[in-house]
């Protein structure tokens, strides 16, 4: 396949396999999918299905064993620099204040890196504005350990977005939060995405989260991870939390739940 054929897509996986060093069994198998610019994609599946491996492939942190990963029309050969990442653990640096944590990517990514000292005031302004949009105004100069888990996760998402990446990678970012905080942060993410329209790949095992946020949900099987199903979520936007209580929403969640249930059963019989 030529690059021109893949042009309208932002991310393209073509028959991608990955086995970790020294392992015979593949962690993910035969992944073919494409993601459009600005698309919100969620990947769901049972734990240990290679969702995180998928993320490492898409960001170039791991090269595929077989197949090709194309991002922005170019084959991925090393870590991409257009990505923001956030994980289940906020991984903030405890010796930096919230604002300094958020500024960290700007100290590393070009061209900001070269301008950082000179334009520091401007960057601080940007970071403050971003923290304000996620409701962390007034906490800029606090240290991470002075914030609650939900606040730390907000700061972590700000850190992932401060350098205006084209792609945001989220690996179960809300997994460790309580239900109320989680739903609050869904809305924070929804608003950020609506405003800035970066491409999102959200790895999660929460079906409601996936259906509420995403345009497209992919279901992955247990190890070795394969894409088993693709489901477009046609619920109208902007979506409000109320949507999650409608029949249409429950219907989709239910349908996907059954598919995952089937995967689990087949695997349980297999060995």
């Amino acid at each position: 396949m030529t690059a021109t054929a893949a042009a309208p897509n932002f991310v393209d996986f073509q028959d991608v396999f990955l086995a970790y060093d020294g392992q015979k069994e593949f962690a993910v198998e035969d992944i073919t999918l494409s993601i459009k610019p600005g698309e919100f994609v969620a990947i769901v599946g049972p734990s240990g299905c290679g969702k995180s491996t998928f993320m490492k492939l898409a960001t170039g942190l791991k090269p595929p064993t077989k197949g090709t990963v194309i991002v922005e029309g170019a084959k991925v050969t090393g870590p991409l620099k257009i990505v923001g990442m956030a994980f289940q653990a906020p991984t903030l640096l405890p010796w930096r204040t919230t604002i300094d944590n958020v500024l960290l990517p700007l100290e590393i990514v070009e061209p900001h890196r070269s301008n950082f000292k000179r334009d520091r005031a401007k960057y601080v302004e940007t970071a403050r504005a971003l923290l304000k949009t996620v409701g962390l105004e007034g906490y800029e100069d606090k240290f991470p350990w002075q914030l609650s888990g939900g606040m730390q996760q907000r700061a972590s998402i700000c850190r992932a977005l401060v350098h205006k990446p084209k792609m945001l990678m989220l690996d179960e970012p809300f997994g460790a939060l309580d239900a109320f905080t989680r739903e609050e942060l869904w809305c924070v993410l929804r608003d950020l995405w609506t405003e800035q329209r970066f491409t999102v790949i959200l790895v999660t095992h929460d079906l409601r989260e996936a259906v509420f946020l995403a345009d497209t949900v992919y279901v992955m099987s247990k190890r070795p991870g394969r894409i088993l199903a693709k489901r477009e979520i046609e619920l109208p936007r902007p979506r409000d939390l109320e949507v999650t209580y409608t029949d249409a929403f429950s219907g989709i969640v239910h349908e996907m739940r059954e598919r995952i249930g089937m995967i689990r059963k087949t695997v349980a019989v297999a060995p």
Binding site: L80, M85, A89, L93, W95, I108, W145, H163
Partner: protein, 258 residues
């Protein structure tokens, strides 16, 4: 007892204990009439401290500065080796077992070799202090670097961070608490190294003073030497403990946080 009072008690606890020990010690010596040649009482030790204040100060200064130089070399070498071991799996595999083996050798065994190479005096003392004090620093710095969260490394690498970016932005700051903790251990070990070397191969320093006082049966002076070493090591330990709290307060947040 209020919280404040309790805090004040805790602060004075070591001094109270020390006073109690000295009192019991004095009582035993007085009641059983223990000879000063065998086990001098605190009072006679204090007398010796005053009587020999000048030579003690001279030898203490000698011990102090040789220890500090040896310790400083230990910090530089320990930090560099720690970074190398913590950053590279290859260096870790190759160097670490050798370091462990080296650390198991009693450092007093090196003194005769050092004397052959450098003669009697300050140099063997400095080198012994260095040899004994760098190992804990290596281990701690390497541990701090090696236990970096893989997710954090992914975040940085996906931003295009180089190895040195990761080291300076995250690795080193993160291992600072480990580093300062190891300084406290190392400084006391450095005193051990210096004094051990001085007792064998020097005409200066507290170690030499104790040896010569012992051979001329001035037991109170020997004990006075012990006191001076203990006091110096304790003072330096406290100094690094304060430095540690100043530099890495974020890692030692107590009850007042959260």
């Amino acid at each position: 007892m209020t919280h404040d009072q309790q805090m004040r008690m805790e602060k004075w606890a070591p001094w109270l204990l020390l006073t109690a020990i000295l009192l019991v010690w004095q009582a035993i010596c007085t009641i059983f009439k223990v000879s000063d040649f065998i086990f001098p009482s605190p009072y006679t030790i204090a007398q010796a401290l005053v009587e020999y204040a000048k030579p003690i100060a001279h030898h203490a200064w000698q011990t102090f500065w040789t220890t500090m130089i040896g310790f400083a070399i230990g910090v530089v070498v320990g930090l560099s080796l720690g970074v190398a071991v913590g950053m590279s799996r290859f260096v870790y595999r190759g160097l670490y077992p050798l370091l462990v083996a080296f650390n198991a050798i009693p450092k007093v065994a090196f003194v005769p070799i050092l004397v052959v190479w450098f003669g009697i005096g300050s140099v063997p003392a400095i080198l012994t202090a260095f040899l004994i004090s760098f190992f804990p620093i290596v281990v701690n710095v390497a541990t701090g670097l090696a236990t970096l969260a893989p997710e954090l490394e992914d975040v940085l690498r996906s931003l295009g961070a180089t190895k040195s970016d990761i080291l300076f932005k995250v690795g080193l700051p993160r291992s600072l608490p480990f580093f300062f903790a190891s300084l406290k251990v190392s400084i006391t070990l450095a005193f051990v190294g210096t004094v051990v070397s001085e007792t064998v191969a020097s005409n200066d320093g507290i170690g030499y003073l104790m040896m010569s006082a012992g051979s001329s049966m001035k037991m109170p002076l020997v004990f006075a030497g012990l006191f001076v070493i203990g006091a110096m090591a304790m003072a330096m330990y406290e100094f690094f403990a304060v430095l540690e709290r100043r530099m890495t307060g974020w890692a030692h947040r107590g009850a007042h946080a959260n």
